[in-house]
């Protein structure tokens, strides 16, 4: 990273300079939500950037203390509203572990199909808006056209487009009908050439490459220390994936590769590699959906579990969400309502890295870095 200190020559010696305080305010088209970043900059180069969050705090943890376990699932959806199925899955797996219950195999396979479809939809939004932030409108439109197909599929599966309340403790609320399975197969066949087309449009475009390579480089050790997880961590070269290392919900039956940033363009750990890990993950999700549909077992979609379960114990469980590792720390005391539910959100930690990473960057690079770490403010603030 070059050192952009202002050059001192005969004309500028003796002139007074001040630091400029700019507010990248809560309303901004590129901050992916209501995030306020207070930037102190010396001209164009940033000296300090303080993120300020809490504009979308909706007291998830306080609500969860006064509601039953099944009633908390709609609240879990609304944390990361872009990838709602993954949030529900993490919570329901934690509750099931406390009850000592394993969902039926058909329910597990349906959960995998739905999670991977959700991963595709979430990554499409992330790469589409990243292209929009970098100035290209066509990738955004292409990504949202394909995301629209996924949302329509979800509407056929469970009745809602964005906030599903589908995955419950014990299974899923409604079985897949045969018509829907054919539609999912059609979608998978249609989507792969669309991804290749998207690569042609954005990934190797020279303007995009020059704006995102060598920007916001996070080394492997730095990423672990910051607490990054998911595509942010894999973009820095660390080979970690919960679906492979500690599989849940039947992921050990499916074969897929873990995509790691390899440095095809730029340096491993820069914005381009984090973005490209997301694109590669979409290919792997299609592979998993194919295998899951081909081996979908017969059976029930919801196990024999009481309508208001009463678990006891304390657990911390992590699952792989599109944005990182979402963890739930649940303390249960044997009544119908939990004592404490804490949601550890990966976007919270990714936003905390803004302060140190933005020093020495130009202001336009802040937009590039924010887009590459892929935050959704609903999850940051909960």
């Amino acid at each position: 990273m070059q050192d952009f200190t202002s050059p001192q020559n005969e004309e500028t010696v003796g002139l007074k300079t001040e630091e400029l305080t700019i507010n990248m305010g809560p309303q901004h088209p590129s901050t992916h939500g209501v995030l306020r970043v207070q930037i102190h900059s010396d001209g164009e180069i940033i000296r300090a950037a303080y993120p300020d969050i809490g504009y979308l705090h909706r007291c998830f943890e306080k609500h969860a203390e006064s509601r039953e376990y099944v009633q908390i699932v709609p609240f879990c959806d609304r944390m990361d509203y872009v990838a709602a199925m993954s949030q529900e899955l993490g919570y329901c797996l934690a509750v099931e572990k406390l009850l000592g219950f394993e969902a039926p195999e058909r329910a597990q396979a349906i959960r995998v199909i739905v999670s991977e479809l959700q991963r595709i939809a979430s990554h499409l939004l992330s790469v589409g808006t990243y292209g929009l932030d970098m100035g290209g409108f066509a990738p955004f439109i292409n990504a949202f056209r394909d995301r629209e197909h996924v949302l329509r599929l979800f509407e056929e599966i469970c009745g809602a487009r964005l906030l599903y309340n589908y995955i419950r403790p014990g299974g899923v609320s409604r079985d897949l009908s045969p018509g829907v399975i054919d539609k999912i197969k059609d979608f998978v066949k249609y989507f792969k050439p669309c991804l290749d087309e998207f690569n042609e449009l954005l990934t190797y475009n020279s303007i995009f490459v020059s704006r995102t390579t060598n920007v916001g480089v996070v080394t492997g050790e730095g990423a672990i220390s910051y607490g990054f997880s998911g595509p942010n961590l894999r973009g820095s070269g660390i080979d970690v994936d919960i679906r492979r290392d500690a599989p849940y919900s039947g992921y050990n039956k499916y074969e897929f590769d873990v995509c790691v940033g390899l440095g095809e363009r730029g340096i491993v750990g820069d914005c381009w590699n984090r973005y490209f890990v997301r694109v590669k993950e979409m290919y792997q999700s299609l592979k998993i959906i194919d295998q899951a549909i081909a081996s979908l077992p017969e059976g029930e979609a919801m196990g024999k579990i009481s309508k208001s379960p009463k678990p006891v114990g304390e657990i911390y469980m992590e699952t792989e969400c599109p944005r990182g590792n979402l963890g739930y720390h649940i303390v249960a005391d044997g009544t119908k309502k939990p004592w404490r539910v804490k949601a550890k959100s990966p976007c919270f930690i990714a936003t905390s890295s803004l302060d140190e990473m933005c020093r020495g960057m130009m202001i336009a690079d802040v937009v590039s870095y924010l887009g590459s770490i892929d935050i959704v403010l609903g999850e940051v603030d909960r």
Binding site: H149, A160, Y204
Partner: protein, 177 residues
Amino acid sequence: MSPIREYFQNIYDAVTSTYKGMRVTMRSFMKTNGFRKIRGGYDYGAGPVTISYPEIKDDIPSISRNRLFMHQEGCIACNQCAVVCPVECITIESRKKSEDENPDARTPAEFGSKPVKLKLLRFDIDEALCCFCGLCTEVCPTECIVHTTEYEYSKFDRDNLIYDYLNFKDENPLPKG
């Protein structure tokens, strides 16, 4: 690489990558085989995907969870929906029936023919608070509370969104079902 070679390599990279992107857009532009089929399935990738709402409306699946509707002849005032609602948007008031109020009444056949022991005084749903989770429709024993497919019911005042299902008057009458 020498600077001159790098200079021309940059120009070549810029021109080819921009050409590739424009080629993708041109290909979509040239697909003029009409609007995609809306009914009966998706014809993926067959032309423009924009539909001119509100003249043309997309068909939504019948299980879609939009505005709630309650058939009052099917309600037995069991209070399950109000208890299970995560945001407490349903208000129910009822009292025991007196002797001359037909104590052996049952709900109609399509609602399971269950005995009605309580008289329903008030049943309000605040649709502005409703989170469309579908939990109330799952626990109702007579299935009298259902999600319809109606999504165009905006009002200018938030108080107009508190629907009183005992005296239901709909300003924009669309088929309920």
